[in-house]
Structures are given as C-alpha cells and as structure tokens.
Amino acid sequence: MPEDPARPLLELKSIRKDFGGLRAVDDVSLDVPKGAIVGLIGPNGSGKSTLINLIARATNLSAGQVLFNGENISDLASDEVFRRGIARGYQEPALYFKMTVLDNVLLPVKDQRGEQPWYAPWRRYWQGDEAAHAQTAVDVLAQVQLLQHYDTLASDLSGGQMKLLEIARCLMGRPELLLLDEPTAGVAPKLAYEIFQQIARLRDDHGITLLIVEHRLEILFDFADYVYVMHLGNLLAQGKVDDIASDATVREVYFGD
C-alpha cells in the first residue's frame, strides 16, 4: 500500500464498547498522527483505559474500526497487533515479577529463533541471535537507567523502576506506536517528570508515536502535542495543549465549572 504522508498512524472510527448494559466507550473517533505525543485525559471511569485496551485488542470492540497505518486491525488478536508495531503499558505494572529485569526485556523480542521448541535445545542455533538481543537490551536498559539492575527480579524494583522497565520492555518489540496507561501512577513527583523526559526521548530519538493516558495534567501538558478529553465514554473535547488547558469543558469535568 502506498504510504500517504498525511495519513494518521492510528485512526479510530466510531468505536464503541459495551460491558453488559454499560456503554464504556461511546462512538469515539480520534486520530494519532505519526511522531506525535498525544494525551488522553478524563476523570475516573471515563473510558480511557478501555480505549487503550480496545486499540491493543485486549478486549473486543462492540462496533467501529481501528486503523493502523491504514490497515484495519479491529479483528486481529493482541499478539498480532503487537507484531504490527503497537506496544502497550499497563496501569498496574504487569511485569513478569518472578523473572529478572533482563529476561523481562528479552521476552518480547520478535521472531526469536530460540523460541521454536524444535530448535530450542540446540544452543548454537540461537546463541548468536540471543547475544545480539542482549546487546540491544543493554542499550535499552541503559537508557532507562536499569542496566545495573539487569539481574534483579522485577518484583524487587521500586514503583518508578517498574514503570520504566515496562517502557523498556515495550521498546524491545520495536514499536511504531506506544500506548501508555498512566505511566506515572504511584510514582513520586520528581520521578514522574523523569519518566516523561524518557518518553519524550522515545519520540525524539526513536521516532515512536505515543498515546498516553495521564492524570498529572501539568506534566502531560508540558510534553504532549495534542490532547483528547473523555468523559462518560464520550470524546468531550480535543485540541492543542494550550487550548485544552484553558478549555472550559476540561475545567467542567475536573472541577465542575
């Protein structure tokens, strides 16, 4: 397919999600342009996390379409979505807590030769690849300042380190688009700022596009290019950061003006 430079990387077209009688996401359409940092905000229960789950195909859509690079990914399984280039972080860090930091980041590397059970016992067949992946992991871990902890069990990390490890783990899959669900939840304020600095570097150095659910608006507003506001499953407002920060609707949902 010829690539249209104007075409957004991710397009949501009227997506909807019902849980039983509850409509968690109602007719939401939004675009994420290539190379942008896009924020998704809204009060608790407004459907932000559900939206992330829908894009990553962790749950099924009730209606609508998700287009990635112009391809309809609404019917793919979550492993296929990852392999297309969409990685996601979780609100509660979903690490492999009983595995080391290094094993955590090596697992998502795509198409590993040693992952075929028939070849797995023959070390020689995959050892070279594995060493190369380990080199990549060294770079990625160094970038998030976890290299010294490569042999630590993930459960022994601090909350902030867990968040960073999760981002590092996503990076190893070489994603084009990274979905992050509250990357600073449960993290001290100073560290939260550092996490966002790391996130900005992903865009600047690696060209990764980001869609971030975040409740620390003041930090998000420092880094995001564009912001969508959700409320009760609907898209309430959207715009550039400056417009959104002073937008009456945002103040409405957060403060009740």
Partner: protein, 351 residues
Amino acid sequence: MINIDIVATAIAVLTLFGIYSLMAISLNLEYGVAGVPNFGKALFVSIGAYTAGITYTRLLPLLSGFEVIHPCGPTMGGALQLRSEIMATQPVAGFINLGLTMLIAAVIAGAVGFALSYVTLRLKEEWFLALVLLVGGETVRIVVRGADDFICSHNGISSVAQPFYFLDDPRTSSLLFMLLALALALLAYLYSERLIRSPFGRMLKGLRENEDVTRGLGKGISLARAQIMLIGSAIAAVGGALFALNTGFVNTNDFVVTLTLDVWVMVVLGGIGNNRGALLGALLIALMDRFTQVGAIALNMSGSDVEFNYVRFIAFGIILIWMLRYRSAGLLPESRLTTGAHDVVRRVLEK
C-alpha cells in the same frame, strides 16, 4: 527378621526412579515451567502403557515372522507363550519392537496432548482445564476397560516384557533395564534443561506468569501451550511404556487419578519449575513406594493386622499438605536459569 536383597531392592528402586522421573519431568515442563495444570497425567502415561500392550501382542509376532495370536480370552496362554518365545530367542525383534513402541506412544500421546491443549481456548475458567483433563483421563480409561479387544478389557494384558528378557540371568537383565530407564530419564532431563534455558523456556515462564501480557507482547501463546503439552505428553507416554514393561502387564486400574496425584506430589515435593527438584521428588516417591512394600511385608510378618498401604496414603496426604503450607516452593526451589544473555550483559558491564 526378613532378608532384604539389597541389590535387587536398589535395582527395583532405581528402575522406578527412572520411570517416575520421566513422568515428573513432563509435568514439571507443563505445570512447573509453563503453568498448564495437567491433571490428566494418568491419561498420557496410560497411552504409553496401552501402546505397549498392543505392540507386544500384535506387532512383535509380525516383526519376528509369527502369526498373531489373540491375546484375550481362551487364547491368552498361547499368546503369552509366543511372546516369551520371541523375547527369549529374537532379541533384535524385541529391541525393534521396543523402539517402535516408544515412538508410537510418543506420537499418539503428543498428538492427543497437542489437541487437548486447544480445549483451553474454549473454557470459561482456567481451572476447568484441570477438570477436563482429569475427567478425560478417566473417560478414556473406562472406554478402554469396556472394550474387549483392546487390552482385554478389565482383565488387562500380560504379554508385555522388558527387552533384556533374553538374558539368562534375571538380575543382569533387570540391571540393564534399570540402566535403560535411567538413560531415558537422563535424556529427558538434559533435553528439558536445555528447553528451560532457551528463549522458548523464557516464553513459557512468561506464559505461566501472565498469559494476557505475554500474548500482548506478540507471542502466540496457544501454540506455545500446545507445543509444551505435546512435548510433555510424549515424555509421559515413554514413561508409561516403561512402566508397563517393568510391571509386565497393562491394566486400566493402574492409571487412575491416584497416579496423577503421585506425579503432582513428586513435582510439588521436589520444587515446582526445577527439573532437579522433579528428579528428587521422583526418587523420594520411588523410595517411599518400595519401603511401603517392604514395610507392609515386615508388618504382616510381625503379626500385625494393620495394612501398611493405607498408612502410605495417609502419609502421602500429610506430606503434600505440609509442603503446600510451609514449603510451597518445594525442597529445591526454582533457580534463575537463563539463556546466557545474562553472561553477555555481565561481560559488557565488566568492560
């Protein structure tokens, strides 16, 4: 006092250890490493045993140029005699038959395990898989027990023999059989150690820890689960074939839920996720089995009425609960085995 033949006891215990090791390693791969709750271990073991029952009565005579005698009912004695004759005079046919038995058993059990793992995809709750496998094993057992021509329904089939039957000295032949069992166990151990320390093993551990996340990281988890069920089931079936050769007959009553529990106890006792733990568990249960037999004889000879076998099961239950409660990681907890990537990183850091 009773005389215990130490050498014979040691051979018996070690043979049992080899057979149990195969079963324990297979469950450790499935549950310990990949987190698949195979409560149908008896089914896969029994597939190996039933295969042996059939090959030794139908295939063996063909291999050595005889007509097959129906092994059930009135012709049973004739079939048994024919088997003895072949096994004593044509060791090569015996070995070929053994190899084919293991191959067929592994293929059938592997295919069944592969197929059954896909059942999980349809199940509402994760533990239903445990129930389906448990119940599936019993169903197969009942069907086999009901089928007259298969392994002679509830009478079982007794025309199975171990491959060194042709040797004159029974002690040498059982010693060689012990070595065969131990060699196969060692092979399975080395193979599964390598598997665990590979990227495939890492993916399985990821599957165990968090299925959804692993899928979200681009891994085809249904296939991985099916593959490990295939491998585990094939190993268990080889264990089952050896089990049949060791006892000399195949009877459906040997493959009840208790056998599954035995294997689980081995893994829980030794250490979930640790192959050496599985071996230790297998050894302890093999010893326990043997000493129960010796103890039962000793107890009876001392004039006591108490059935020692019952005490064995009670002790079994208590050990299991005690382990689950106080040492849920087992005697040898899982080690942090890795692929060698850690060494690469360590070298980079040292530079």
